[in-house]
Amino acid sequence: MTLPKGFGSGGGGGAGSADVERMIGRRVENMGVMITLAYIAAWLATFGGTAAGYFYYPWAYPTPSGHFAFIVLTIIESIGYLFCMKVTQEGSQKKTNGLIAAPMATIAVLTVLITMFVGN
């Protein structure tokens, strides 16, 4: 197999396991924490965006509309997070169901509380 420049033994040898690891870089199985943090950041940004409607632009962006958007976008983000985690973890020995369930459940509860008590 022809390898890119800088990989392999230089003399037509095949790819060693070290070469394969170097070509892969960070493995997707090890991206769980990063994906979880990105999910939480996306949810906070969604809250920030809709909160601008509750507090700063209530004349242009009514709170019930913001709550609706906040709930639907949270669902979209949660499904995306679940897909990302399942795609990265499948076929590996990692047990990350707890890591997936904890932020999803927390965010679900917080979303309900925010839509009930936050806004004008």
């Binding site: 892969i24 997707v28 409607g53 509309s65 639907v72 995306g80």
Partner: protein, 187 residues
Amino acid sequence: MAQMPALIPKEVEIQRLKKIWLMIIALGSIAASVEVDNFVDGSLHQTSIRDSAFTPAHWWLYSHFVALPIGWGMAAVYDRKVPILRGPNNSMNTGLKMTILGYLATMFTIGVNEMWHFWFVEEIFAVPNHWMFNMGVVVAFIGALAYVVRIYARLVELGAETPGENPYIAEMYKMALEGKLYSRSIP
């Protein structure tokens, strides 16, 4: 069609395809968010405020129409690391090309739309300045679907994804990978 020859080690290819998969999920979520704002934007125009670039619902729509071509462009940059996804004559994958062109059209339509509304403020869905939003999104979705199916089929081919457990569906995947799907199903 026999299994396509691998130009990079199988393990590397699976990892790279999955990284592209993650990008697609994120970009698909942004596209879903645009669809939500389609309703929010439309309802706000009819109930509370005249059109303006500074309407919050417009910020939502417009920021996504900038993020989407940039995000798909980043996917295209990473896509070059997977030889099997190359398009005709070693160019960019055709599905990716369509997706980026479609979303670029929507991005440029932001400006076109603002210029149109400088003279005509009424937000009627069918006015010509809105056509390119709709057509751009449709072209982008068609391209993205083709790209997603290509990646999924390759992951199945590499054994990293399992096709449906339904034996009929599994048989269809098998025939599709062998290039026999149409010749069998279309008499």
